[in-house]
């Protein structure tokens, strides 16, 4: 088959639009605000060998980890026509337990042609606390662990599995609706892929999948070649694991040779007792993300982009945890710190392209209790945006999600309609961005008053160690967590805590500002031209 740059462009947009269409189906049909309002999900397409061909523009943290879900499904189960495999086990293809992934095969007359996968963050999968983002010490406390098993067999729902899942979660009706939405998403992908094969023929489609992977590989190599050959090292820390009062160190050493890069995390800390451990899938996602941002133009998310990158993350470290370590914070917090470390490595090599550190946390808030309005249990999860790091020549954006997440907020009016809480404040935290020639973006202030007894878990970072500035820019202001009791007494809390709230108590969260870039000019002194 001869290569045609026109066809390449067409296939690129075809596969991407199918992944986006799967995502639209999932969003539209889901039940929980977490999927519909916040859009915490991803969808992707793979070829018959499990190589990623396209992913919708949803959540970067799912970027490099979706292929591992598909690989695990293939390894652990035979996938026949009409089967769908469900999984969330971080040690077998998952990331953290709330992220449930559904993988299905797409079959032609005789053979398997593709896989499609959808993943959504479910706002409760059981475990110690409502919202399933607890301060756990082992994975068994974090919720229901689902190895790759058949949720759908020959087109029929496997009620045994379905009922077992629903029996282990706090909000089964919502889970039921959300799982059905994931099913609909996979079916959308399957239908569209078969249409394309029918229209263009299998031979051509397969040929252009190879071309597409090669294309993303070329684009990635093109970028790596722009980095001067050499060895770049940096490190940064997490505030702590939520159990022991000690920082957790992440170290990276990037070796660039021509169009290849090796990213070695060997000098990072060993896995810890709390839940900030990342499984390998997370670390791979971050590496993929960082190099993808360097490309500068929009390229498809395919397996080809990973080829020039070699990731070394020894088992048993905080960047490649072994069971039964708790991992729910690895996905949301450690992932952000790995980004910070990799950019810090590359800043001297690409001085005009690397931003200062962004807020470096997702500020995960979960709470639950019983709603006095209807007597039903509720579980809520949200993440709060913060300041973006300043860029060379450009201030950081204020009050925005950065790097590994892009989930939306839930409108204040939607929260108060659905849950027995009152949002007292939601605004920018002025002055929290680091000063510099370009200033970091400001964080956010959010205050929630509880109207009923509730359990709250907060999983946040950068309360102690600030987001760094670059080239003389000041660091961003660290975040701050507080509880203001109904009687007016207030106390500061750590990065990670779990506590009971009484009616009238207020949870106050101030998210970090982004780091500044470049030395700030002294006030009143104009630069001479």
């Amino acid at each position: 088959m001869s290569f045609d740059p026109v066809k390449l462009e067409i296939y690129k947009s075809l596969f991407h639009s199918i992944a986006e269409e799967m995502g639209a189906t999932l969003r539209r049909t889901a039940y929980s605000p977490n999927i519909k309002e916040r859009r915490d999900y991803s969808t992707a397409i793979f070829d018959g060998q499990g190589r990623m061909v396209a992913q919708g523009d949803h959540m970067p943290v799912h970027l490099g980890s979706m292929p591992l879900s598909v690989a695990s499904a293939i390894r652990n189960r035979t996938i026949d026509p009409g089967d769908m495999i469900v999984l969330n086990d971080p040690y077998r293809g998952g990331t953290h337990l709330p992220d449930i992934t559904l993988v299905s095969g797409v079959f032609g007359k005789q053979e398997r042609l593709f896989f499609v996968a959808s993943r959504a963050h479910h706002s409760d999968v059981g475990g110690m606390t409502p919202g399933s983002m607890p301060l756990a010490e082992e994975i068994y406390q974090e919720g229901l662990r689902i190895p790759p098993v058949k949720l759908i067999e020959k087109g029929e729902i496997n009620r045994d599995v379905w009922d077992l899942v629903l029996a282990n979660v706090r909000t089964p009706e919502e889970r039921d609706g959300d799982l059905a939405a994931m099913l609909a998403a996979n079916r959308t992908g399957e239908r569209r892929l078969l249409e394309i094969v029918g229209k263009y023929g299998l031979k051509e489609v397969r040929g252009y999948i190879d071309e597409l992977l090669d294309y993303t590989e070329r684009m990635t190599r093109h970028v790596i070649r722009q980095i001067p050959d050499g060895v770049y090292q940096a490190e940064d820390v997490l505030d702590g694991d939520g159990l022991v009062d000690a920082p957790v160190r992440i170290h990276a050493r990037i070796t660039v040779r021509g169009s290849r890069a090796r990213i070695d995390f060997s000098k990072s800390d060993l896995q810890v007792g709390g839940s900030v451990n990342a499984v390998y899938a997370i670390t791979a996602s971050v590496v993929f993300y960082v190099f993808r941002t360097l490309v500068g133009v929009s390229i498809p998310s395919t397996e080809g982009g990973m080829r020039p990158l070699e990731v070394i993350a020894p088992e048993g470290t905080v960047v490649n945890a072994r069971p039964p370590a708790a991992v729910c914070g690895g996905n949301v917090e450690t992932a952000q710190r790995i980004v910070d470390v990799l950019y810090r490595c590359l800043a001297p090599a690409l001085p005009d392209r690397i931003p200062a550190a962004s807020q470096g946390t997702m500020n995960n808030v979960t709470f639950g209790g019983v709603d006095p309005r209807n007597g039903k249990p509720f579980a809520y999860y949200e993440t709060i945006a913060g300041g973006m790091g300043a860029r060379p020549g450009l201030d950081g954006v204020s009050g925005v999600h950065t790097h590994m997440t892009n989930s939306m907020n839930t409108p204040v009016e939607a929260i108060e309609l659905a849950y027995p809480v009152r949002v007292e404040r939601y605004r920018l935290r002025r002055g929290s961005g680091g000063a510099g020639r370009n200033a970091g973006g400001d964080g956010i202030e959010r205050e929630i008053r509880f109207l009923t007894p509730a359990r709250v878990t907060l999983l946040s970072e950068r309360r102690r160690f600030a987001p760094y500035g670059l080239r003389g820019g000041r660091p961003g202001e660290p975040g701050r967590n507080r509880i203001i009791k109904a009687d007016g007494s207030a106390r500061d809390l750590d990065s990670k805590f779990e506590t009971a709230m009484e009616p009238g108590d207020v949870l106050s969260i101030e998210t970090p500002g982004g780091g500044g870039w470049g030395r700030a000019r002294r006030k009143g002194v104009r630069k001479q031209r």
């Binding site: 001869s2 919502e174 907020n409």
Partner: protein, 671 residues
């Protein structure tokens, strides 16, 4: 919507046949301002070079050229342009204290996931002009903290000190109790400051979307008001009506106060015109395809014009009903380029009108229009009367720059590639509004207009399985024609979240909206008998967070389950549903001018000339026709090129083109 009882002519408003000269449509949408009048069934068209700084100058000139009297119905881009170019009024925003930055934070997301240099559009209200006041309303309408006199007084002096030209007010849950907003409104209106209240502009839940919509209105109101004032003065005794984004026209005074309803004023005329053209041809399930120089609008009409509330302009949501239209950033002027990985890209960069495509004379970058010229589908002789010339040398130079990676094909194949890529983008856009929403594209006809649509429509239809393409007469001024066919329309809504959706409550809510709407349409000059209401409810399953709009009637619940099934592939009649909003559209029906049928002819269509076109990898001989020579009953076999003033239609080899009784070209596949 056409027909029905006709309103009696009144002193104000749009009854009967207008003033002495009938109604004149004026569309200031593009490079040219278009004027259309229908007199005794004949369509008169005038084009005048637009004067964007003062659109009324071109309007005055055009009206003089057209001659005679006549009232004006106007498709305006003043609001859209002021918004995109950030040339609106200095505006303040008053919010519940603690929520001053909702407008800036938005949904806390970034536009591009992988671009670390991504930016957020500057907010329409600067930091120092966002004012929080102490007040709080709850979801059920309880006023937990009522706005007091001290706060009001402080607010008044603050607004005065800021010296703003316009004020938006958006308090949390104001849709449940608008009292506090109304107090602020009364206070500031008393001091002569124009005020936009969120409880009046968009009384629906979700504070960011409501605030954004209200702020846009406040930002545009002074600009629109000044412009329409100048225009009215220019027009003297002629009446002036303005097209809204929902496809209905209103008095200029109404549009001046609620300009957020006019963001799609121009394109909405095109959709109304396309719908009328489709119906005249005998089809009411249509996909409209308006391809211009830098962008393309597509819309799906399933027997009626559809509106949506999920709109965005430059990253800012607008929650008022607008034509359900999808825009792609690609058109005739889109530039072709090759990236480092060897893929051919088309757009989003555009050569615009200046320097324009290479074939316009000054451009240097290869565009979609140039590709059509290379392939022989666009003939210089038809370019606005033959004024444009093709510089072959420049085209070759531009093409050479494109071929720096492996495997680049010949000039023609490359041009064909540019067409394929742009058609694929268009195809994805049409899929998005049809297949992805549960419609089968094969049940629809494609109505194409705008300068470039006719060159791409047939191929596009074939790729999507759409059985026919309709090219209405005067495709270059269809948006203006549509203005003449528009009814008056006003949309009203009221949030019902948190309340039990009993039939009596829905009826009471709708009745209140009807009363308001009838009053306002009577002010527009419509008799009660010419006013009709279309009622809707926004419904969702309890626990969902997005709702579907379905017609309100006895079986609204069943209609919701059906709509959910169609859109999402599943529904559950057992599951409890809730009503989020009640809404109604009040339509003031206007008489429609009749277009003359064209006579049948016995003589076969005769080409002006023959010319070479490149199709399916080789040159073919094609007939070249002037559309003015085509009459009812004529059949043109592809390959053929049918040219007219400001538009060209390409008939591919496997297509035939029939001319119907009102002059539509109907393209269908022959094999």
């Amino acid at each position: 919507m056409a027909g029905g009882d006709r309103p009696r002519r009144r002193t104000r408003g749009r009854g009967g046949a207008g003033g002495a000269g009938g109604w004149i449509a004026v569309d200031t949408g593009g490079t040219f301002t278009d004027f259309v009048r229908i007199r005794d069934g004949a369509v008169e068209v005038v084009k005048e070079l637009s004067t964007p700084r003062a659109p009324e100058d071109a309007i005055l000139k055009g009206l003089e050229r057209l001659g005679g009297g006549g009232d004006v119905i106007h498709g305006s881009t003043v609001a859209t342009n002021a918004l995109l170019e950030r040339k609106g009024a200095r505006t303040a925003l008053v919010t519940t204290a603690g929520f001053e930055d909702v407008l800036v934070i938005g949904r806390q997301t970034r536009r591009d996931l992988y671009d670390v240099f991504t930016t957020r559009p500057e907010p329409l209200v600067s930091d120092d002009c966002r004012i929080g006041v102490r007040q709080r309303t709850l979801w059920d309408g309880t006023r937990e903290v009522a706005l007091d006199a001290d706060a009001l007084g402080a607010l008044a002096s603050r607004v005065e000190a800021l010296g703003v030209d316009s004020v938006a007010v958006s308090f949390l849950f104001s849709f449940a109790d608008p009292t506090d907003e109304e107090r602020v409104g009364a206070l500031l209106a008393g001091r002569g400051v124009p005020v936009s209240l969120s409880s009046a502009i968009l009384p629906e839940y979700r504070e960011y979307e409501r605030t954004s919509t209200t702020v846009i209105n406040a930002y545009l109101a002074p600009v629109m008001s000044r412009y329409l004032g100048r225009l009215a003065a220019t027009l003297g005794s002629r009446q002036l009506r303005v097209m809204q984004s929902n496809g209905g026209a209103v008095r200029a005074a109404t549009a001046a106060k609620a300009p957020v309803h006019t963001i799609l004023s121009g394109p909405a005329g095109g959709v109304v015109g396309a719908f009328a053209a489709g119906e005249q041809a005998g089809y009411s399930r249509l996909i409209t395809f308006d391809m211009g120089g830098t962008s393309t609008d597509v819309a799906l009409l399933d027997g009626q014009i559809r509106v949506t509330r999920e709109n965005e302009i430059d990253g800012m949501p607008i929650g008022v009903p607008m034509m359900d239209m999808h825009t792609v950033g690609a058109g005739g002027g889109s530039i072709a380029s090759a990236d480092a990985g060897g893929a051919l890209k088309v757009g989003p960069e555009s050569a615009g009108a200046d320097p324009g495509p290479i074939c316009y004379g000054a451009g240097a970058e290869f565009t979609v229009t140039d590709a059509n010229v290379v392939l022989g589908r666009l003939l210089p002789r038809f370019f606005l009367g033959g004024g444009m010339a093709l510089d072959a040398g420049r085209i070759v130079g531009a093409l050479r720059r494109l071929r720096w990676t492996r495997g680049w094909p010949s000039t023609q194949r490359l041009a064909q590639g540019v067409i394929d890529v742009v058609n694929n983008n268009m195809e994805q856009a049409i899929r998005l509004i049809s297949v992805e929403r549960g419609h089968d594209a094969r049940d629809f006809s494609l109505v194409t207009f705008g300068g470039a649509g006719g060159l791409h429509a047939a191929t596009l239809a074939a790729g999507l399985g759409i059985p026919r393409v309709i090219v209405p007469p005067h495709p270059g001024v269809l948006s203006a024609l549509g203005l003449l066919l528009a009814d008056a329309r006003k949309d009203y809504s009221r949030s019902m979240v948190g309340k039990p959706a009993t039939a009596s409550l829905i009826r009471r809510t709708l009745a209140a909206l009807h009363a308001q709407g009838v009053r306002e349409l009577k002010d527009e000059g419509f008799r009660r008998s010419a006013i009709a209401a279309m009622d809707f409810v926004d419904v969702r399953y309890v626990g969902q967070s997005y709702e579907l709009t379905v017609p309100y009637g006895r079986d609204w619940e069943a209609a919701f389950h059906r709509a959910h099934e169609l859109r999402y592939g599943h529904s559950d009649a057992e599951r409890a549903v809730e009503v989020v909003n009640a809404r109604t559209a009040l339509v003031g029906r206007t008489p429609k001018p009749a277009v003359e049928r064209i006579p049948r002819t016995r003589r076969p269509a005769r080409p002006l000339a023959r010319s070479r076109v490149w199709v399916n990898g080789r040159w073919r001989s094609a007939g070249v026709y002037d559309r003015r020579d085509l009459a009812r009953g004529h059949v043109v076999q592809g390959p053929a090129v049918i040219g007219e003033y400001s538009s060209t239609t390409f008939v591919p080899p496997e297509f035939r083109c029939d001319v119907d009784s009102v002059g539509n070209l109907i393209l269908t596949r022959t094999r």
